[in-house]
Each structure stands twice: as structure tokens, then as C-alpha cells.
Symmetry: C2
């Protein structure tokens, strides 16, 4: 990067106008949202059910069906973040965490990088939400979640990826 | 929304600090990136190969493997946008466009809504890139793309979703 003008530094992300040299040598200016990265986890119960959350999101001013997820805190590994979000958002304990892959979810304008996991969880603990969170917890069979996806009722990208990658890996679609 | 302070209005997105009332009545402030929405398309050739592009992205200051995609222009439908991006980025003509679903790709901080398609395409036409684009076109069998995904070499979320949704629908995973 040759030059960068920071427009905004927020609690969640920062925004800059950056000059970048492209592979053919040309210089151009781009608006970019810088984000610390995130982890998201598909929680698996022992009885073939999974857990989803229905969460209020101000970006769409409504509720949306998602898997637990959150921003990486300073000094936190993606695994630690995944375990913390499972504890805080659904009040469960992680028995085993398996990586599903790492992905750029909005590469057209942001460097946000998502670490995606599946986790075997047990229901021992209590939800501990942050001040600005509003979350309902749902337990449902994996096949029912896939049927919701099929009917277009799951519209959160990381949740779609987690359900399909887990199904694809397990060959149980 | 009760109150909004616009921080930045750019060419690609705008940023605001918005006050929203949550379902339980509490008011809170949130940083939000407003985006006009986007369309992305998995291009299918007649011989079971697909087309991917290797594109320079300033957000990660490097090349990444993706499906063709772009921002909705004013007054443009998602279908029109999908056809335009196929023509511009890979120089192909769309024979048939099938919806794969609509998704929020960064709901934690943005309203960006992605319209995802698969398209049967024919190679007649010429690439017509924008000033700030740098794109290489790759043709490869669908199974090879799925193998790249399996090996963690596809890291763009919309491309993962398109490959898995197409495979899931067609039952040919």
C-alpha cells in the first residue's frame, strides 16, 4: 500500500481510502472496511440436533437465524473466540471443536476473515449476553435446518456455509 | 431507527452510527456499513466445466479465486447485474440463469445483500474490465473446484456458497 487516509475508527471496524498498486503496476484508490476478524460455530448436540440462534441485527433492523459468532478480541485465538461465543450466546460448553475452514466474507470492500467451526457441545452453563445483544436459542434436527435452508429461510451466509460444509464433510446431506 | 449520523458516503458504501430500538425496547448505538447489494454468478459451461476468476482485491492486497460478482447499479435488477458481470468479467453470454438464493454476507456490521445465481453460459464475447479491475479467467471441471474447496484453496465465501448450493441442489457432490 502506498498511501492511506483513515476516514473512521470505530468500536467494530475502521474505514479508509487506500491507494494500492495492482498486479499490472497501475495505482488506484479504494474504500476499504478494516475488521479484526471473527469466529463462528455450528453447535452440535449429542442427539443429532443442532443449535441456531434468532438474533436482532441492527444492520437489517430485524431478527435473523444464525449460528453463534463474534469478533476476535485482542490477543484471542479463533478457537478461544469460538468457545467464548458458544458459552456467552447459548450457555453451552464445547467438548470438541473442528475447523470447517477460513473465509473472506465480504472481500469486495472488507478484509473481514471468518474462522468457521463445528463444535460438539453440552448444555451446561448459562447465557451471558452483552448489553447490545438480543438472542433466542433454538434446538432443531440438522435435517430440519437443511430444510429451512432449502426453503430460503436461512439467509445468513456464515450459517449457510457451516450447514453445507458440515453436511458435505459428513456426507449426510 | 430513531437517529442516524452519517460518517462517510463513498462510491461503494456509506457508514453511519445509528440508534436502533431492540425487540425488548432498549435503545442502542451501532456502527453500520450501508451497501446497495450485489449479485454473484457461478458460470457453467456445457462440458461440465465451470469458470472461476482470479482477481486482485485491494482489501487483502492480493489475488483471490472467486466467481464473477458485482454491485447492483442504480435501477438494475439482480438478474441484470448478474448478466452484466458475466459479460464484463469473463466475456461470456448467459443462456439460462437459475437463482441459488439471497444472503446477508456480513450481517454483523452491514446490510449488504447478495443475490446468488448459477448460469449456463457460452463463450461468445470479450472481457470488458473496469479501470480498477485485474482479472484472470480459469476454466475447470466442477469436481476440481470442489477439490480446491476441500483443500482450503477457495477462501471467498460467496464462491463457497455457490459451489456447495449448486452441488447440493444437483445432488452431484
Amino acid at each position: 500500500m502506498s498511501d492511506k487516509k483513515e476516514i473512521f475508527r470505530g468500536r467494530v471496524f475502521s474505514v479508509g481510502i487506500e491507494e494500492h498498486r495492482m498486479p499490472d503496476g497501475r495505482l488506484s484508490h479504494f474504500e476499504i472496511v478494516r475488521h479484526p476478524g471473527a469466529a463462528a460455530v455450528l453447535p452440535l448436540l449429542k442427539d443429532d440436533r443442532i443449535i441456531l440462534i434468532r438474533q436482532y441485527r441492527p444492520s437489517i433492523d430485524g431478527m435473523i437465524l444464525e449460528i453463534p459468532a463474534g469478533r476476535l478480541e485482542e490477543g484471542e485465538t479463533p478457537e478461544q473466540c469460538a468457545r467464548r461465543e458458544i458459552e456467552e450466546e447459548i450457555g453451552c460448553r464445547v467438548e470438541r471443536l473442528s475447523p470447517l475452514g477460513n473465509f473472506y466474507t465480504a472481500v469486495g470492500f472488507s478484509d473481514i476473515y471468518l474462522h468457521l467451526f463445528a463444535a460438539e457441545v453440552t448444555e451446561e452453563g448459562e447465557q451471558a449476553l452483552e448489553e447490545d445483544e438480543f438472542i433466542e436459542v433454538l434446538r432443531l434436527p440438522l435435517q430440519e435446518a437443511l430444510a429451512l435452508l432449502e426453503r430460503g429461510e436461512i439467509t445468513d451466509a456464515k450459517t449457510v456455509m457451516a450447514l453445507l460444509l458440515h453436511t458435505h464433510h459428513c456426507g449426510n446431506g
